[in-house]
Amino acid sequence: MKLAVVEPWIEAPLRQFVSDAGVELALLLHPNGQVLAQHGFARAVDVMSACALAAGIHASAGELGRQLEGQPFRGLHHVGRTRQIFLAEAHWPRGTYIFLTVFGSDSSLGLVRLYFEEMVAALAAAAPTETVPAAPALAEHFERDLDRNLAVLFGRA
């Protein structure tokens, strides 16, 4: 399984990022945990888990930052033995999204940060101009929407 997106305007900037930065996994999601695009995941359940964890980490880091510095932390970098995680916010006219990526020794934090900024700019330019009203995090149709997005990403729609 390679790259898949829920909305077509996301595909080209994300594909470029994956190619330039040389990352293994990439995930774009709404802060409520709903997935918009993914690269490298083979199973829907893995995407669902990663989205839930990323949304939780983002919320926790945001609150920790607010308590410590009066404003939320916007990025996270974790170094493992062979792989590293980079998680950051991306802001567009349509709202704030979360981007999670996993990379190994073929890439570096510097490259990921560099191409992440370029991807955010490209997505901002490609995004539809109409604004979507922000839905509550635990909306009535959350599970239905999540299932629909996963079905689109994994070719079951």
Binding site: S107, S108, L109, G110, L111, R113, L114
Partner: protein
């Protein structure tokens, strides 16, 4: 400007005629440790890409049985990029095409020798 172990080294490099940027970069992360840049140079971008290039050159040299990379130079129509590595760090110089590469090379090798002698050692495997 804060003074750190790299300040004098970078000052020496940037004083070479034609040099427009001198950076100390983490080889593994591609992040700037310290830099001395002329206006118009994007240190973060150069650091990330140059460290990646150097790391791949080092791995390629090792794979080909050539030993360690001592000095890497990239020539382009409007300038040159030179790099040497040691102790998990990469020293990068961006210069105009007309720069005296021999002098830059001597200064870079001297600088990385000083770094190694001072005991800098990162994990750049």
């Amino acid at each position: 400007m804060a003074v750190n172990p790299f300040t004098a080294m970078l000052d020496t490099l940037i004083r070479q005629r034609g040099v427009t940027a001198a950076l100390v970069v983490s080889e593994r992360d591609g992040i700037v440790v310290d830099s001395n840049l002329q206006i118009g140079q994007d240190g973060d971008r150069v650091a990330a890409l140059a460290a990646s290039l150097y790391r791949k050159a080092r791995l390629a040299a090792r794979a080909a049985g050539m030993g360690a990379v001592s000095f890497m130079q990239l020539e382009a129509p409007r300038g040159r990029l030179c790099a040497v590595g040691g102790g998990g760090l990469v020293l990068v110089v961006v210069a105009q095409a007309s720069v005296n590469v021999g002098l830059v090379r001597v200064e870079l090798l001297r600088a990385v020798g000083a770094l190694t002698a001072a005991g800098w050692s990162g994990d750049a495997s």
